[in-house]
């Protein structure tokens, strides 16, 4: 008998095996939902898939009588816009500061403690300050994402820059590189794929900050909608919305992974066969 760590699932069955937990959860939900609806057909807590599909279809196609907008798309675009701007700004700051901190000891000595302390401030705790400073519009929501995500990106990139072998920096200098050229041709290209990777990990927190900010003050947005319909116990809207957000998050994550593999094949060389 082989050891457990040496047993691998058959190739064809892998996909199926991954599907089983989802199937089990789905069946569990259906049975619970059926049980509740059998007792009370007007129960709102565990709606049937048909009800959810109907509500979601309505949100995705029906124009609002007053504004003429379709709720789902307005929400999605508003949220994605905030998320992407926030993540974009964070990534840019993270990359620049991460490279400078990682590459230039004189800058690191000044900035590194500040970044460490800043990364420990719970971003949600300063959300009121952001509302006071930026008002309750877009700026405060984007600022929350930036403040929440940037210190993490900086610390990750700085750490990675410091882990690059000294030999590479010495080698670049023996080829005549100036400090600026070392940052530009050695650190920047090696930290960019790392940035994509770190951004993937940070996307989870970015969504958290976005939805929290939208829940407190917004006129539209995925998080705003969920918290709005909570008042009416509309699980038939909340559950599809959560699934929709999860799908968007998954697609963003895979997009970043795909870009990274395509643009930086050498970075992914060490990764073995992922099952």
């Amino acid at each position: 008998m082989k050891r457990l760590i040496n047993l691998t699932p058959p190739r064809g069955g892998r996909w199926l095996l991954g599907f089983v937990p989802f199937l089990l959860l789905g069946m569990l939900y259906l049975s619970l939902s059926n049980a509740r609806l059998a007792e009370n057909p007007n129960d709102r807590l565990l709606p049937t898939p048909a009800t959810m599909a109907q509500s979601f279809h309505h949100l995705a196609t029906a124009e609002n009588v007053r504004t003429g907008q379709i709720v789902l798309w307005t929400d999605t675009f508003a949220s994605l816009e905030r998320l992407l701007i926030g993540i974009g700004i964070s990534a840019l700051i993270g990359l620049v500061v991460g490279i400078l901190n990682g590459g230039i000891p004189l800058i690191r000595a000044k900035l590194s403690p500040l970044v460490t302390v800043a990364s420990l401030i719970p971003p949600m705790a300063i959300l009121p300050i952001l509302f006071i400073a930026f008002g309750t519009g877009e700026a405060s929501k984007i600022a929350l994402i930036v403040i929440g995500v940037t210190p993490f990106l900086i610390r990750d990139l700085q750490g990675h820059a410091l882990r690059l072998p000294d030999e590479q920096l010495i080698k670049a200098q023996t080829l005549g590189a100036s400090s600026w050229q070392v940052l530009l041709r050695v650190l920047l290209p090696q930290l960019t794929p790392r940035l994509l990777n770190a951004t993937r990990l940070a996307l989870g927190s970015a969504w958290l900050f976005l939805i929290a900010a939208e829940a407190i003050a917004a006129q539209e947005g995925l998080g705003y909608r969920i918290f709005l319909v909570r008042r009416y116990l509309s699980m038939d809207v909340i559950l599809p919305y959560v699934a929709w957000i999860t799908l968007l998050a998954f697609l963003l994550d895979q997009l970043l992974a795909w870009v990274s593999r395509l643009a930086f094949p050498w970075y992914h060389a060490g990764e073995g066969d992922k099952s």
Binding site: T174, W180, P189, G270
Partner: protein, 264 residues
């Protein structure tokens, strides 16, 4: 005037003396091989030549000037590993030397300058026999090919001297033979001055024109850090086998264990 000369050169960290009383002068075109037991300061010495370690006392002159205290294009280097850039192809790794020097702002050339850099890089790459792997990344190359690439890269700058820190230490014996042939050929063709650290005494004799043995001449059992290593033997190597007298001397000297390790 000699290329490199040292007078009473000394290196210590606090009270820990690593190297002491180094005196030598090296002429252009010499191939110096450095041997010695682990931890006896060979690598520290190479780092002083590179400029990443400062000297503590004495003088170390390159072309009559104190050696710069940071790495520069006049001193090429090949390490045992991590010598090439993982994010650049073979061509990119060699081209970058010319690009860094012709494009100060971007470190990247375009148009005619780029074509010129490619041509020069290809010549260097062909010299080390990597012409078939121009567009491969280092992770796709074997250890021997990576070291060939590192040598081609270091030679792009036509350095005054080439520093090799156990460049073939991690390679298979067969590949190592090929690399010996390569480095000996390049040394002759391009009239390089080479300093090479090695653990392999046979390699040191086969390649070098001059052999330096690093060892401690004085030893205080109460304070093992009080005395540093120095060059205990500085011998010219003819292409003949080392003389019996020398082997004898090694055996009788304080190098006994080290010699037995390598010759047996």
């Amino acid at each position: 005037m000699s290329l490199l000369s040292a007078k009473r050169l000394e290196k210590h960290y606090g009270h820990h003396v690593v190297l002491e009383n180094l005196n030598f002068s090296v002429e252009p075109g010499e191939f110096v091989t450095l041997v010695g037991a682990s931890g006896c300061g060979k690598t520290t010495f190479l780092k002083m030549l590179l400029g990443t370690e400062n000297l503590s006392k004495g003088s170390l002159l390159l072309d009559g000037q104190p050696i710069p205290n940071e790495p520069g294009p006049d001193r090429g280097v090949v390490f045992q590993k991590y010598s090439v850039f993982p994010h650049l192809t073979v061509l990119g790794n060699v081209m970058i030397a010319e690009e860094l020097n012709s494009a100060k702002l971007l470190g990247k050339s375009f148009g005619a300058a780029k074509r010129r850099a490619i041509d020069n890089a290809r010549a260097r790459i062909d010299e080390v026999g990597l012409g078939h792997a121009l567009h491969k990344y280092p992770h796709e190359l074997s250890g021997g090919m990576q070291q060939r690439l590192a040598i081609a890269q270091a030679l792009m700058m036509r350095p005054r001297m080439l520093l090799l820190d156990e460049p073939f230490g991690a390679l298979d014996p067969g590949i190592r033979q090929d690399m010996h042939g390569l480095i000996a050929r390049l040394w002759q063709e391009q009239q390089l001055t080479i300093f090479m650290i090695t653990h392999d005494l046979k390699e040191a004799f086969a390649l070098g024109t001059r052999l330096w043995v690093f060892d401690k001449t004085r030893h205080d059992p109460q304070a093992p850090e009080a005395y540093g290593a120095t060059i205990t033997y500085d011998l010219p190597i003819s292409q003949d086998q080392p003389s019996a007298a020398f082997k004898e001397a090694l055996h009788h000297g304080c190098l006994q264990t080290f010699t037995e390790e390598t010759f047996s």
